[in-house]
């Protein structure tokens, strides 16, 4: 009896260091907090600081210039063009990604021989480094060697003397950039939507069939509404990845021709890093912020709703 009483007291005074939940929790959280401060928080504050200064690459002096940089950007037609391009780029590519991702996910949901190899092939664009695959696309779009032109000519889709310059004509350039972005983000969206589809119990599909639903009714009344929450997740990821992406544009077109494929991220990069005007580059990139905040709010609202139900 006496030992039973004594035990808790002994345990209390000798709680092993790592068994203190409060302390352990802080230790486990620390790497994440440090990571976010160092790689997200600090650069963000630095960007705000630069955007109200006259910082340039190679200059050691800094002066506070107030909102001068923002004023310059707002008066800059290229900035507005970049913003418009970024929105077109994001909206068109994400509409395509979600629609194609849903179709692909439904095709992959069915059982067929060799399903795993098809799934593997579809995932490849996502796991390949984007800078390398963009260079491959550069060759696909090459004005002389373009495989698209060669094939189209062989099939008599285009005449022998037409030479579409995929990355050199404004409309085609935007279409090409969108195509590569869709190609790259489609696997992720497909896998996310496939997970959503697999989570619907088979009974629901069976019940809809017995209840007389044909393909379209089944798709629009049962299938789509049930995967909608998870499709939204895929869409939000896609918006963030596309709106902030500069690699595809940088490798394929460098924003050209005549800034017709320039987006905010690439314009900020060309101005701030390649052009050396750090202050303006920082100010431009901060225009990404409101969009990303909006996306984050939608995300958090959804997460909260998922917790409640």
């Amino acid at each position: 009896m006496s030992s039973a009483v004594a035990q808790p007291r002994a345990a209390k005074s000798h709680t092993p260091w790592l068994d203190d939940e409060l302390r352990l929790g802080r230790i486990l959280l620390a790497p994440t907090v440090i990571y976010i401060i160092a790689l997200v928080g600090f650069p963000f504050l630095l960007a705000i600081f630069y955007s109200v200064s006259d910082a340039t690459v190679g200059s050691t002096s800094l002066h506070f210039v107030g909102l001068h940089n923002y004023k310059m950007i707002i008066e800059d037609p290229t900035f507005w063009r970049s913003l418009r391009n970024a929105i077109v780029f994001t909206v068109v590519s994400q509409v395509l990604v979600v629609v194609l991702g849903k179709i692909l996910a439904m095709a992959l949901y069915k059982d067929f021989p060799g399903k795993w190899i098809v799934r593997l092939l579809i995932l490849l664009p996502w796991v390949a480094p984007i800078s390398l695959s963009s260079i491959a696309w550069l060759w696909i779009f090459d004005p002389v060697y373009s495989i698209i032109n060669v094939s189209a000519r062989a099939l008599h889709i285009i005449g022998p003397n037409t030479w579409p310059i995929w990355l050199g004509q404004p409309d085609l350039a935007m279409a090409s950039v969108i195509l590569v972005d869709v190609w790259r983000l489609l696997p992720l969206a497909t896998v996310i939507i496939l997970a959503g589809l697999s989570a619907i119990p088979q009974d629901i599909h069976d019940a809809a069939q017995v209840d007389g639903a044909g393909f379209w009714r089944h798709l629009f009344m049962i299938n789509l509404p049930l995967v909608m929450p998870i499709m939204l997740v895929a869409l939000l990821f896609g918006i963030v990845f596309t709106f902030t992406d500069l690699i595809v544009v940088y490798v394929l077109t460098r924003g050209g021709p005549f800034d017709t494929t320039q987006v905010i991220a690439s314009y900020a990069f060309f101005t701030g890093v390649e052009g050396g005007d750090l202050a303006s580059g920082a100010a431009i990139s901060l225009f990404l912020f409101p969009v990303l905040v909006a996306v984050a709010i939608v995300f958090l609202t959804m997460a909260k709703r998922a917790e409640v139900t």
Partner: protein, 343 residues
């Protein structure tokens, strides 16, 4: 209202025949129960009737029309699933209206029918709720309302009561049978629960390994099992079996009673046995024991109603007996009931 018929219906998964050449005729308005252990093929059979599974060979007929290759929506059937399979994103009223919308019905007509079906199952107050806000019993009623709403010619029910708690199950069983009687719709009901099967079915088809072992009324199946599988699957505890003179002899635990109970009745067969364990179940006592010579030392069970208050102790030998008419004879090799014997 329609008949449901299968002709040499077979479904193979890889090498196994889940359903192995079943011939079955469900009469108009009949309540037929498919009863069997899990994996016996009863659900596969039901899914083939629904059109959710295509048979490897054989035919399905509904109302004397071959529907083997028709999709479920062309069969005018309704099915209730074990999980109820309510559409989680739709309200109760939209769930019930779904089959009506699917056949192109709109507006006022839908509202009237939904209302009718909902009041039939007493769920009118739940119409605006979502399935996740309902209890198990309420969900089951919604699933039934969705099934009856467009007057199908056949109901297919796949263990619709197994997700309810025991108390609710009894009352749900009663309601289920009442509404089936009222509508008179041909019903095929799948279950592994023999109490449900005995209580609900006009006839029961006992299945094992893809074959029908016996098709008959609940009493037929209980009193006159076609083979040892049916004899041991139906009844709780199952029928006692022992080998005797190249046959298998079977007797139900409730027929295996102390010799004195039979009084002056001469036509009884004595089975002395030693008691090993006693379970008191309130209404009855289950008495476990081993048969004594001249019979082989087989484990047997007696179900003794509490109206026989005779004291019984473990480790003691008692003179028990069975009325000879209640002894069943089965073939030792095939387990099939021997014609003319024991009845």
């Amino acid at each position: 209202m329609a008949t449901v018929e299968t002709r040499a219906l077979t479904k193979s998964f890889e090498a196994d025949n889940a359903v192995d050449g079943i011939d079955l005729l469900v009469k108009e308005g009949e309540f037929l129960v498919l009863l069997g252990p899990s994996g016996c093929g009863k659900t596969t059979l039901l899914r083939m009737l629904a059109g959710l599974e295509t048979p490897t060979s054989g035919d399905v007929l509904i109302g004397n029309k071959v529907v083997t290759w028709l999709p479920p929506r062309a069969r005018n059937i309704a099915m209730v699933f074990q999980s109820y399979a309510l559409y989680p994103h739709l309200s109760v009223s939209k769930n019930i209206a779904f089959p009506l919308n699917a056949v192109g019905m709109h507006g006022h007509e839908v509202a009237t029918k939904v209302d009718e079906a909902a009041s039939m199952f007493g769920i009118k107050h739940l119409l605006h709720r979502k399935p996740r806000q309902l209890s198990g019993g309420e969900r089951q009623r919604v699933a039934l309302a969705r099934a009856v709403v467009r007057n199908p010619v056949v109901f297919l029910l796949d263990e619709p009561l197994s997700n309810l708690d025991a108390k609710l199950r009894t009352s749900a069983r009663d309601e289920l049978q009442q509404f089936q009687r009222r509508l008179g719709t041909t019903t095929v009901y799948v279950t592994h629960d023999q109490v449900e099967a005995m209580g609900l079915g006009d006839r029961i088809a006992v299945l094992n390994k893809g074959r029908i072992h016996q098709l008959g009324t609940p009493l037929d199946i209980y009193n006159d099992p076609a083979d040892t599988f049916v004899a041991t699957f139906i009844g709780s505890p199952p029928m006692n079996l022992m080998e005797a003179d190249h046959t298998l002899l079977g007797f139900r635990p409730e027929h295996f009673l102390p010799h004195d109970v039979f009084g002056a009745d001469r036509d009884v067969t004595p089975f002395p046995f030693t008691v090993t364990r006693i379970e008191h179940l309130g209404a009855d006592r289950l008495i476990y024991g081993t048969l004594e010579a001249p019979n082989p030392a087989v484990k047997v069970i007696s179900r003794l109603p509490s109206t026989i208050p005779m004291p019984i102790e473990t480790g003691t030998r008692y003179e028990f007996a069975v009325r000879t008419a209640n002894l069943k004879h089965f073939d030792r090799e095939t387990g099939v009931k021997r014609a003319g014997a024991g009845t």
